[in-house]
Symmetry: C2
Subunit: 250 residues, 2 copies
């Protein structure tokens, strides 16, 4: 794959054309992405390769790649290279919201990674959502989720204790919230309400999601209930807006 891409981006730049060298390089790569010469998910040449090919210094090549990332055309994965962003994944929000199913339906493999877990007393808003007493203990996990190897979302789940005391360990093992809920005896669950807003990603979210500064996240808060209708899980997650389109059917 690399050999073709390397050829694809080698068309040279014109000095003194009024556009800076990094802008010309970025424009050429952007044109090749739009034309499909570079396909979604393709890896771009490295800074060093671009620098050699366009006869510019690495700083110029780096700036071209950074410009493409800040325009949402490519994703810079730390230590692994730069990749063409794929179109947004359709992500259904309804009575049944399952990350693994939603990602699988779009033809990708879902993955999850637990970043942290802790126990804390529920503040008032959370206690109200979960239908528990203020100050009663909940478990909070933070998870990053992927489609293939692309980070899609990062967010929290908060569940009442002691019912979900096995949740964090099960989530660490499986990476799947549905499986972790199953390990706690929840055979099925459904989403009763979802709130959706959007903002620019924080610096920490941008790092976790391979987003350039200034890129946007969808902020999705949800409440899941068990078969009996009891609230079991309050979630909030930010989704890279370049990678997901939420869909609601009614």
């Amino acid at each position: 794959m690399h050999a073709e891409e390397d050829a694809a981006v080698t068309t040279g730049i014109e000095r003194g054309r009024g556009l800076t060298a990094w802008r010309q390089i970025a424009d050429q790569i952007a044109g090749q992405i739009r034309a499909g010469v570079l396909a979604p998910g393709d890896q771009l040449p490295t800074e060093a390769q671009l620098a050699a090919r366009f006869s510019v210094n690495r700083h110029t090549a780096r700036r071209a790649l950074a410009a493409l990332a800040s325009e949402g055309m490519v994703r810079a994965a730390q230590g692994r290279g730069t990749f063409v962003e794929a179109g947004p994944l359709p992500y259904p929000i309804g009575a049944r919201v399952r990350f693994t199913e939603n990602v699988g339906r779009a033809g990708h493999e879902a993955g999850g990674e637990m970043l942290s877990a802790r126990e804390l007393p529920a503040p008032e808003a959370l206690a109200t959502r979960l239908g528990v007493a203020i100050g009663s203990m909940v478990v909070e996990t933070r998870t990053r989720r992927f489609a293939d190897d692309v980070p899609i979302s990062v967010g929290h789940s908060r569940l009442p204790l002691p019912r979900f005391s096995g949740f964090a360990v099960a989530l660490t093992e499986s990476g799947s919230i549905t499986k972790a809920l199953g390990a706690c005896g929840v055979a099925d669950y459904r989403r009763v309400s979802t709130q959706i807003s959007a903002r620019v990603a924080t610096a920490e979210e941008a790092t976790l999601l391979d987003l350039a500064p200034g890129r946007v996240v969808l902020v999705v808060e949800g409440l899941n209930v068990d078969e009996a209708g009891a609230p079991i899980q309050a979630t909030d997650a930010v989704f890279a807006a370049d990678r997901v389109q939420l869909t609601v059917d009614s």
Copy 2:
């Protein structure tokens, strides 16, 4: 209202404190917004008033207001002043999506203004959505919508002709899409699908929505059908993400 606010923002700045004067002024106003001294919807003092009160030049006062707008704390309404942003309006997305009802339920008065109307042949994607032949004529209107006097969204509606030949005139008169559909004989309609994404507002959208550069919009595309289930209206609208939180109940 003005007299109180003027008093509220008069606390002075410290020269040589390490923070620029505009940042100190912005921080003081932000603190008063967070403390509720300046309430949602309140008008801020003008540039000239701020400049006089803090003994700075107008450029400095302008920069303080611009910083607050770029942080999403205030809204600069061209020619009418600067106002404290209210919290986000809950905006239900479901089988029944009605701007006027949604805004009214949140305690605000809905308004609408038609920006433009034209007729055009339907491109393939639109024709498929509306269930009409490619190239058959549709009417396209562009509308800006308000909660009280605050711009909330700007977007397009596209409807098949000749059935909706009276739509644009009716929309101009009422400002309400539901009323304009009623004028075309649609007694009731429902939303069958909605797609939600987000991005930074374009310069034109920012102007229409009183948004500072870099602020975010929710992009909402929908398809409405009539009582018989026939597609009648394809919509796309951008909502100021600072002013709306979409909600989905299931």
